[in-house]
Symmetry: C2
Subunit: 285 residues, 2 copies
């Protein structure tokens, strides 16, 4: 696997790949890779001639009181596991390389409306502007045919699909299933911050999603009832601090009262300083 | 010359050109072509294997009280003169093709800060958001190597250069000299709206730019004095209604008090309902 740190270098590799008629599968990440990221590499490998992964902890998508500084980083280990999983080129730029105006100054941003107003968009103002802007940049640098994203960040997938559609970006967004630990906890680079006790209590996230799925399978269609079921389960865990529990239309993340179409049940819960998200699609899956 | 109206068709032609190793020179326009546009086609032809021109009157860059509806259109004549000037493919999409969400609804926009705050950006709120968004879309559809823009819209060139730099868009922006009528009036599709009397008085625009150039050549460096000189010349024409007369740093359009670096003298003046712009670069050209 080749590791490059500059835009100029990665552009050269991309040019060579395209000149040779190779298709490019792209996996954008913030590093500290786990099995979820590796499954994205494997999907990209199956569907593309060459796999490019980027590792970039993007300051633009973190709020002033969020965890940009303490976000976990381990490029050496990441490079080993990415290469072993089939990644061909790892692009790991510095903040200065991606934002050369310095001091976090960015003059051009990409904004997506409507699908960014709820869920994590409501809790994290500016987050999806940062995501859409950096992904635009990375797409323009790597020029992939397909880009692979985990469904744990379901709203991110919705935002980027909207962006790609609206701006006619010639990239296919491929959403991939969330990968979980054997006990059900969704894989996340932030799981490393959990104490044993927090981690044990965090299992309520996937359990409450399963309970909601079961309730829907048993005929429950009322959104308020389903949200109450999930909230009560999570609130029973003393270390859990709910950011949101929401059920929205899966297609456009619009508010719904009753489940008639496929719906996204999404939640964000803090355990100490660590904020975890998880979700499932209810009905019509 | 081939004329296409859908994104699917133009993408096919672009794919074929790229597969054949041809470079693409792109000239985005709103149509009603004049000699300025044709000179862009000729520049594109000199520097590229194939020339694509788009004609699209973009509603997103017009304000609610601006002239979107009455902007002049003549696709039949445009196609003739573009083909004669060397255009290979003319892309003329409908509003629905470019904005399929309907009702002018756009969820994703590209915003450029700082270089959009003054000059036309101050007079036309939202104008450059509309320009940056549609040009992003057109670049993603046409995937040109180079894109050619007239310097009459000097701020547009600055905005798009900022956007291309910030978002790492793989397109070279090529600014081209303003083309003028023999009497000095800058070519514009909107000139057709001028009455004979307005047109005669509109010659003050290029005359006042020349006067400022002469004053700078004679040693004047004070921005207020130069602006006063230009204003007084324009105000002497009874049909002229000044929107702005500004002198800013050429590189980043920042406010300046003295001309030390190359500076942009830009003006916008209404004659009746018709708003004309013109500019020149003072010093160090």
């Amino acid at each position: 696997m080749i590791i490059v740190h500059t835009i100029q270098e990665i552009r050269k590799h991309v040019r060579d790949l395209r000149a040779a008629g190779k298709s490019i599968g792209y996996v954008p990440t913030m590093g500290y890779l786990h099995e979820g990221h590796l499954s994205l590499i494997r999907s990209a490998k199956e569907q593309s001639d060459a796999v490019v992964m980027s590792i970039f902890v993007n300051p633009l998508q973190f709020g002033p009181n969020e965890d940009f500084e303490r976000y976990p980083r381990d490029l050496k280990r990441d490079a080993e596991v990415a290469g072993a999983a089939g990644c061909d080129i790892l692009f790991a730029p510095s903040v200065e390389e991606m934002y050369p105006r310095g001091d976090g100054k960015v003059l051009t941003t990409v904004d997506v409306e409507e699908v960014t107003h709820q869920l994590c968009g409501a809790s994290r103002p500016g987050h999806f502007r940062g995501v859409a802007t950096v992904v635009s940049k990375l797409f323009n640098i790597i020029l992939p045919d397909k880009a692979f994203f985990g469904m744990k960040d379901a709203q991110q997938v919705a935002v980027l699909q909207t962006m790609v559609d609206d701006l006619n970006i010639p990239v296919e967004i491929v959403p991939c299933q969330t990968v979980r630990e054997p006990d059900g906890l969704a894989m996340s680079s932030r799981n490393v911050f959990l104490t044993d006790e927090q981690r044990q209590q965090a299992l309520v996230l996937s359990r409450s999603l399963k309970a909601a799925e079961a309730a829907v399978a048993a005929g429950e269609r009322d959104v308020l009832q389903l949200k109450r079921l999930v909230r009560e389960m999570i609130e029973a865990q003393p270390l859990a601090d709910i950011d949101y529990v929401e059920i929205v239309n899966f297609r456009d993340l619009a508010t719904i009262l009753t489940i008639e179409q496929p719906a996204l049940l999404a939640l964000a819960v803090r355990f100490g300083k660590t904020r975890l998200i998880d979700n499932t699609v209810l009905a019509g899956r």
